[in-house]
């Protein structure tokens, strides 16, 4: 999972405006900074997006690399396949998560990407939140680099209100982690500094959530999947910095301008779509075009919540630093049980006046995908919502069959179109 299509090249005439330029600069600066990092002066921590501990690690002077985001940026730049093939030559099977193969292949090839060199890790922080592959991936990195690894065990969220024992468990681990970092860096932990950073974090999260909620408007001034994924970079990678928080102020001002000026994602919003699942980063624009062609706008999506369910109140809180970090880690979208995922989707359907759902299943991601067929069944039969399930991969272009996907999407949206004119029941357009 993850998300942050940092380097997606927008087209001329897009509704994306000032946010896009600012985002491009932030991405470039981040990778430029990384290329110079490493060693005792500027040590590097590798971290996963789900349930991450960015704020704590940065407060000890670490630069943070998110291999998932590096991998997806490679995929957008059409550079994932060579890394994946290299990983397969190393022995990683066809069915291993594309992020893992892209990353381990890249590392073995020396870490050079179109956006700069990715430094080696001095520390591996495995936030085990939402994906078991995280543990396997980080074990492989630990053995390759001999870097120390800290596992932050985040229990799976099975009830809406987190169990107090789970919070206690995570808070205790956070203290242990802090003590380890103190020993490792020789620096004392500064709680006041963490609180200051968390204030910026919170500001960014509130801005991001406000942006996402704009999808409730009809017509929607935002594209809550393709555009939102593009704008995930600051919330996932730069969280805790003033730049990330300021970024969403810029974006939200732009969204307000869009509403005023009628500069919307599409000239006519014909279908309001909820999208579930990780995107095919290798064919991002092509996939988006398959929606646009039919006047389909994503007004809400689940994937932008993989880094945290900020729009549902799982926010960092400077007044309760560790407790709120624990709650945030618990709430990441794929760390939630299917029962909770269904409930969230049900609420989104209503709050965002959704007409149809598109589920994009990822062949090499069981965490997100295992059970999406059941979700489709539930949406069609229990919720009466037309739903399309398609499958490819987030990283491996060999699995993206454009003609087949386009045919299925055309058939789906065409039948929706017919339904709008004939008012047929929802289940009949279950492509």
């Amino acid at each position: 999972m993850t998300g942050a299509a940092g380097a997606a090249p927008p087209r001329e005439g897009d509704f994306l405006d000032s946010g896009r330029e600012l985002q491009r600069r932030l991405v470039e600066e981040y990778y430029r900074g990384l290329a110079e990092a490493g060693g005792p002066q500027r040590p590097v921590a590798y971290m996963l997006v789900g349930g991450n501990l960015t704020e704590i690690v940065r407060s000890f002077g670490y630069e943070v690399v998110f291999p998932e985001i590096v991998a997806l940026n490679c995929a957008i730049k059409h550079r994932s396949l060579e890394n994946i093939l290299h990983a397969e030559a190393m022995g990683y099977g066809l069915d291993v998560c594309g992020y893992v193969k892209n990353d381990l292949g890249l590392q073995d090839l020396g870490g050079s990407t179109p956006f700069g060199r990715i430094p080696r890790p001095d520390l591996l922080v495995c936030s085990f939140s939402g994906c078991y592959v995280y543990v396997k991936w980080w074990e492989a990195l630990a053995e390759s680099y001999g870097a120390p690894m800290f596992t932050y065990d985040v229990p799976y969220l099975r009830e809406e209100v987190p169990y107090k024992e789970d919070i206690q468990y995570m808070v205790a681990q956070l203290w242990e982690f802090v003590h380890q970092l103190e020993k490792r860096t020789g620096r004392a932990f500064d709680m006041e500094e963490l609180k200051r950073v968390l204030r910026e974090t919170r500001r960014a999260e509130e801005g991001w959530a406000r942006y996402l909620r704009a999808g409730r408007l009809r017509p929607s001034p935002i594209e809550a999947y393709f555009e939102a994924i593009f704008y995930m970079f600051p919330i996932n990678v730069l969280r805790g910095t003033a730049q990330a928080a300021d970024f969403y102020d810029v974006v939200n001002a732009e969204v307000e301008r869009r509403v005023r000026e009628g500069n919307l994602p599409l000239p006519e919003e014909k279908v309001r779509v909820l999208v579930e699942g990780v995107p095919p980063y290798t064919n991002y624009r092509t996939f988006w075009d398959f929606f646009r062609k039919w006047g389909a706008v994503s007004v809400v999506a689940t994937y932008p919540k993989v880094g945290g369910l900020f729009d549902r109140g799982f926010l960092h809180d400077p007044a309760r630093p560790f407790e709120s970090i624990a709650e945030y880690s618990l709430g990441a979208y794929v760390n939630q049980s299917w029962t909770l995922r269904r409930k969230l989707i049900q609420e989104y359907l209503r709050e965002y006046s959704v007409d149809a759902v598109v589920i994009h299943g990822i062949k090499s991601c069981r965490s997100f995908t295992a059970g999406q067929g059941d979700l489709r069944d539930w949406l069609i039969h229990d919720q009466g919502v037309p739903t399309l399930y398609i499958e490819s991969d987030h990283q491996d272009p060999r699995y993206f069959a454009p003609a087949q996907i386009k045919n299925r999407m055309d058939a789906f949206f065409e039948s929706l179109d017919q339904r709008r004119t004939t008012k047929a029941p929802a289940t009949e357009v279950a492509a």
Partner: protein, 413 residues
């Protein structure tokens, strides 16, 4: 437009297939089994029947049973509440998958599909509840699908912690077990009593010791107990009332001690990978026919995750501690050392001459470990062979060829 899916709650007309095996309510068939051969035959029939004849017999006799997905669940808790714990370890080679594919997605292991298929077709009706441990994302997600598919049944996703270095993990795991217990109490209709758990710990300790003896016997005298015999006798303990399994194992061990078959030349191998989905019995036989002596494996880890769990003090804490302190190094828990150290230690401990990676198709935890294991073995020039399997495999020509070539290349080098 796709074919309509099975609507949950509605069962299809043709399902389930008539149960093939009816056992007596008191499971007398096992008590009267004349010897190892008879036990093994019965085990083969019982374990090959995806309608769970033992659980059905138990239910007819008025009992309640709870199914657990592999690899590890503290079944002692289920037992302590007077219920029958049963490991549901796939549907086997004969189960046809017609509904689960559509609900689960394509690129998933067979065991997840067969487990769901059995649920959707009424084959798991004998169970009152289902526990899915967090061994991987597939098992974890299955819980949520079961919760929707079988709304009247208890379901639980058990979070098995992965931070083995924290002082807070033990209290967390105890709390996690208490949550499971609370659900089990509702199913059992009775309250948890530490005394009962102490008794269950003793029963499971006894069972594990006997399973250990069986494994020792096989390691020392592989000719006297075939791999399939050992496998079936051990796996029987995941479905029979544990007291009955203990009786059988005691009798089996007494008989086996007197067995003396002629040893044959074979390559001593450790089998790594099938900790969850299980290979068919035919594939297990093929390993031996091809000249492998399996001296270490991961087939039924639940029955030997740890040694004796002490019953003094708080039995729940002891159970949690036993899980956390066990140095088990398999694909579904964070490695206690490194993968390299783990595999080399296993080879050394068992005196194996090679490693056979038998990975279930689409089983990501196993597939990822293999790369690190292979790297470690290559550094030491320890031979290995990697093969994929599915619980529904039916043809073995390719596997036979690979195995025979591997064995020959090592034995007659």
């Amino acid at each position: 437009m796709a074919a309509p899916l099975l609507t949950i709650g509605e069962r299809t007309e043709e399902e389930p297939a008539a149960p093939s095996l009816e056992l007596s309510n008191d499971l007398a068939e096992f008590r009267s089994a004349a010897g190892v051969a008879e036990m093994v035959r019965l085990a083969g029939e019982v374990l090959g029947d995806p309608t769970f004849p033992v659980a059905r017999a138990w239910k007819r006799a008025g009992g309640r049973s709870v199914a657990t997905f592999p690899v590890y669940t503290p079944q002692e808790l289920i037992h302590a509440l007077g219920m029958l714990p049963v490991t549901v370890q796939g549907g086997g080679e004969n189960l046809e998958i017609t509904h689960a594919d559509a609900l689960l997605g394509s690129f998933l292991c067979s065991i997840s599909k067969s487990t769901l298929e059995m649920a959707l077709t009424g084959r798991l009706d004998a169970f009152e509840g289902f526990v899915f441990p967090y061994i991987c994302d597939v098992s974890r997600n299955l819980e949520g699908i079961f919760a929707r598919s079988l709304p009247g049944k208890m379901t639980h996703m058990l979070h098995l912690p992965q931070n083995f270095g924290s002082a807070a993990t033990l209290p967390f795991l105890i709390a996690e077990y208490r949550r499971l217990l609370a659900k089990l109490e509702r199913v059992a209709g009775r309250a948890y009593d530490p005394e009962h758990l102490r008794a269950s710990l003793a029963t499971f300790n006894r069972q594990r010791r006997l399973v250990g003896e069986l494994a020792d016997l096989r390691r020392e005298r592989p000719a006297d107990l075939s791999l399939v015999e050992m496998y079936l006798l051990t796996r029987l303990g995941s479905t029979l009332p544990r007291e009955l399994h203990i009786e059988l194992l005691e009798r089996a061990l007494a008989e086996l001690t007197a067995r003396h078959r002629k040893p044959r030349d074979a390559l001593r191998v450790v089998v790594v990978g099938p900790f969850c989905e299980q290979p068919t019995l035919d594939l297990l036989s093929l390993l031996e026919e091809s000249g492998c002596a399996v001296v270490g494996e991961e087939f039924q880890m639940l029955s030997r995750w740890y040694g004796d769990v002490p019953s003094e003090g708080d039995p729940l804490e002891n159970l949690a501690r036993a899980y956390l302190e066990a140095p088990v190094d398999i694909g579904v828990r964070a490695t206690p050392t490194t993968k390299e150290a783990g595999i080399l230690a296993r080879v050394e401990r068992t005196g194996a001459q090679g490693v056979l990676f038998l990975t279930a198709k689409f089983c990501e935890p196993a597939l990822e470990d293999v790369v690190l294991y292979r790297r470690a073995l290559e550094k030491r020039n320890i031979p290995y062979l990697q093969m994929e399997f599915e619980e529904r495999s039916t043809t073995y020509e390719q596997a036979r060829l690979q195995l025979e070539t591997f064995v020959e290349s090592q034995l007659f080098d």
